[in-house]
Amino acid sequence: MLPASLVARLRAVVGADGIVDRPEALLVYECDGYTLERAAPEVVVLPRTPAEVSAVLRVLAADHVSFVPRGAGTGLSGGTLPIGAPVMIGTSRLGRIETIDVRNHRIVAQAGVVNQWVTNAVRAHGLCYAPDPSSQPACSIGGNIAENSGGPHTLKYGVTTNHVLGVELALPSGELVTLGGAVEDRPGYDLVGLVVGAEGTFGIVTRATLRLVRVPAAHRTLLAVFDSVDAASEAVSGIIAAGIVPAALEMMDRLIVQAVEAAFKVGLPTDAGAVLLIEIDGPAAGLDAHAARATAVCRTAGVREIRIARDEAERAALWKCRKRAFGAVGRLAPNYCTQDGVVPRTRVPEIVRHIAAVAARHRLRIANVFHAGDGNIHPILLFDERDRDEVARVRAAGREILETCVALGGSLTGEHGIGVEKVAEMPLLFGPDDLVAMTRLRAVFDPEGRANPHKIFPDAKVCVETRVPRRQAAV
């Protein structure tokens, strides 16, 4: 138990309305989007400014207390689960967009600013913030930076790390340090690049300077229906081989298509093996030529049907299928768990076949909707939380899928992070020397190991309460 005097000192920093410590109020904070494990913090602290974050951390540093940062709580790997960390620091009240520099395509936003707000703030200037995870309307910039978030448009535009020019980091000591900034090419180590994706283990990012990009002048959005995942995968490889870099290249398998059709009645054939969503963007000239080539590639791969959005409304309708796919899954089962793995994009057919085999072996239904252009798979494991045996099979199946991703030359996670979820799998990907190097790196920022402990690395993981989830993972 935290001493009452410590909580009093935290209250003095953030005010009474910045402290959450009633057990019923803490329930909200006992998990994020990864619901298979739960642990409640003893207290949640909600600072309003970077200076308050710093002051809170100084209070904790004085007593060597560990803490876990939390943004919007949309993470999918349990990165905000408070394990061995009694204090949670939420950044939701750091919600200010501080400066917008249209001429230089820069914006400075505090950590709690919602991803979508950034684009909303600059859209009138023809600019946007490129990383667009599916949780875009809810997830925060601070969380995006912690997880190095991706989204469906990373194939062309890159992930969070490609768009963060500077951060202000509150070190676990409480010291606020500005790394990078609006000007590129600062001499010295790429500290910003190290902080992005560190999953909150280096401290708490309080504000960030982000790069904005021009909104593409035009789009061509195609929906291609195939008889099999193999045929759709062949089209993916063919599009890449043709020298086209689509803005997005998304695949949905039969189970997802059926769920989407049942939910939204968009006219998708429910006997289709796979559906590809292909988006090409850029200046208007040449887009039709690229779309024609992509279409030809799909025909060679045996496409059954191709639709091209004729206007923005039709484009939105096609994207709705993809972005709401997870919601539609709710029709298939009471609960689901979304995995995140990566394979080289040419190995997509193999991993999809493997997933089908795993599903059969474990008597599970697994739906697939994923970023095919990046080889970033998102198998959705369906289950009923009341069936304890099925929950156990979901865990085992998830592990087997990840093992195969690594065996195929891929990775444990493309955009969700290691968090607590995949700590045990890290040695599949990294050897002891690699992990030692990472822990050395961490110690430079957090010598006492108090920032988000027991994440990423397979240490003596403290037992957390594992129970059946009560709410759905939102993606």
Binding site: N162, P187, D190, A284, V444, F445
Partner: protein, 422 residues
């Protein structure tokens, strides 16, 4: 005296000579390992004897950074030249550190792809040097830099262990992004032995348009208009007076590279011409855009006493170029300037050794006050005497010292060459 010949074979060890000097510091030995295992053995021996090591490829970029405080071994990786794995359909390539970019480019080109980084001297620039020195060229404006394309790295650390970070897939957030630690670190925290990059389809057509301007400021303003136009520049440079080797007359210019399929490029060219006409500026069409790009990229390594690299906001490029030129005039010398309008990186070439120090001391404080930086990117050894080549690395310096101490506790990797004398 370590018996390097016993470690790598007598044919691959030589005494250092003047040609091997790093900023005038001649290494005792030049060692050329032929395998990853030999690199590890050499690094272990260096660590054991507390020697100092500078890793090098073909030596094309050793004039960057501060002079080494000590130098016992120049470790040349030019025998590790394999393209380990090019998966064209995955758009990735894994390559050994000593592979020259020209050779890598040839391998990728057969699949219509490229590693979209275009530093000068591609025949002499190796993959390891590309990463260690964070090299780039005009393409960075649209393609990003090393940090944006590097997805995996293998490094021999100070213990002689091989440490891997990242992987071979284009999207990967497992563990810390260790490869970023080594980008631009000048080999100060390990010896890069292998790198994996994202590659992209090479645009089948590349042209360029030169927009002739009266002043550098006008050229920089024009470039920003082009940046935000539907020309969607592949690259975008601003030349001050004399910055463009074969420009239209003596004046400044905005030079824009256009890439894509034929109809995209034709449309982009028309767009640039419209912009030029609307601003009352003359445009000059260049058919071989790639050749012009290579010439502009070579600016950074043209014979000069020093090439300075100022970083500023894109909107400040014109005024920074003018300030550099004015300061040079006051000192009765001349600078030639060439800038990347998209990234805000301005290069200034100086021919007089004695002008380097005073120019840096005059221009740097003002730049740093406004959030910019000024680095002496390359210089002949004499021009570095008494000059802080790096300038202020900012408030992260304490963490940088921590990183150096964590990854090179014995100070064996390029001591003294990096920021803050690391």
């Amino acid at each position: 005296m370590t018996d390097w010949a016993a470690l790598v074979g007598p044919a691959w060890v030589a005494s250092g000579g003047a040609a091997d000097a790093v900023d005038g510091v001649v290494p005792a030995s030049v060692v050329r390992p032929g395998s990853l295992a030999e690199v590890q053995t050499v690094v272990r021996a260096v660590a054991e004897h507390r020697h100092a090591l500078v890793a090098s490829g073909r030596g094309a970029h050793l004039d960057m950074g501060a002079p080494p405080a000590r130098l016992d071994v120049l470790l040349r990786l030019d025998r590790l030249t394999r393209v380990v794995d090019h998966q064209a359909a995955d758009m990735t390539v894994t390559v050994e550190a000593g592979c020259p970019l020209a050779a890598l480019g040839a391998a990728l080109g057969s699949a219509g792809q490229w590693l979209s980084l275009d530093p000068p001297r591609p025949e002499e620039t190796t993959v390891g040097g590309l990463v260690a020195a964070n090299l780039s060229g005009p393409l960075r404006a649209s393609q990003g830099g090393v940090r944006d394309l590097l997805i995996g790295l293998r490094v021999v650390n100070a213990d002689g262990a091989v440490v891997a970070g990242g992987g071979r897939v284009v999207k990967n957030v497992a563990g810390y992004d260790l490869p970023k630690l080594h980008v631009g670190a000048l080999g100060s925290v390990g010896v890069i032995v292998e790198a994996t990059f994202k590659v992209r389809p090479r645009p089948p057509v590349e042209e360029a348009v030169v927009v002739a301007c009266r002043t550098a400021r006008e050229a920089a303003e024009t470039a920003l208009v082009l940046r935000d136009s539907d020309a969607a520049p592949l690259w975008l440079q601003v030349a001050g007076a004399g910055g463009l080797p074969e420009g239209p007359g003596e004046g400044a210019a905005a030079v824009v590279g256009l890439g894509g399929i034929a109809e995209e490029v034709a449309d982009a060219r028309a767009c640039v011409e419209r912009v030029g006409a609307s601003l009352g500026l003359r445009t000059l069409f260049v058919t071989d855009g790639a050749a012009l790009r290579a010439r502009l990229g070579a600016f950074a390594v043209e014979p000069a006493a020093a090439v300075l690299r100022a970083a500023t906001l894109p909107s400040e490029v014109g005024s920074v170029m003018e300030r550099l030129a004015a300061t040079a005039r006051e000192r009765q010398t001349v600078v030639r300037c060439l800038a990347d309008a998209a990234t805000g990186v301005v290069r200034a070439a100086l021919t007089e050794v004695l002008a380097v120090g005073p120019l840096v001391k005059t221009v740097r404080p003002d730049l740093e006050r406004h959030g910019g930086t000024l680095v002496v990117e390359r210089a002949v050894p004499d021009a570095k005497v008494g000059v802080d080549v790096w300038g202020d690395p900012g408030p992260g310096l304490r963490l940088m010292r921590g990183l150096k101490a964590a990854f090179d506790p014995g100070g064996i990797f390029s001591p003294g060459r990096y920021v803050g004398s690391l």
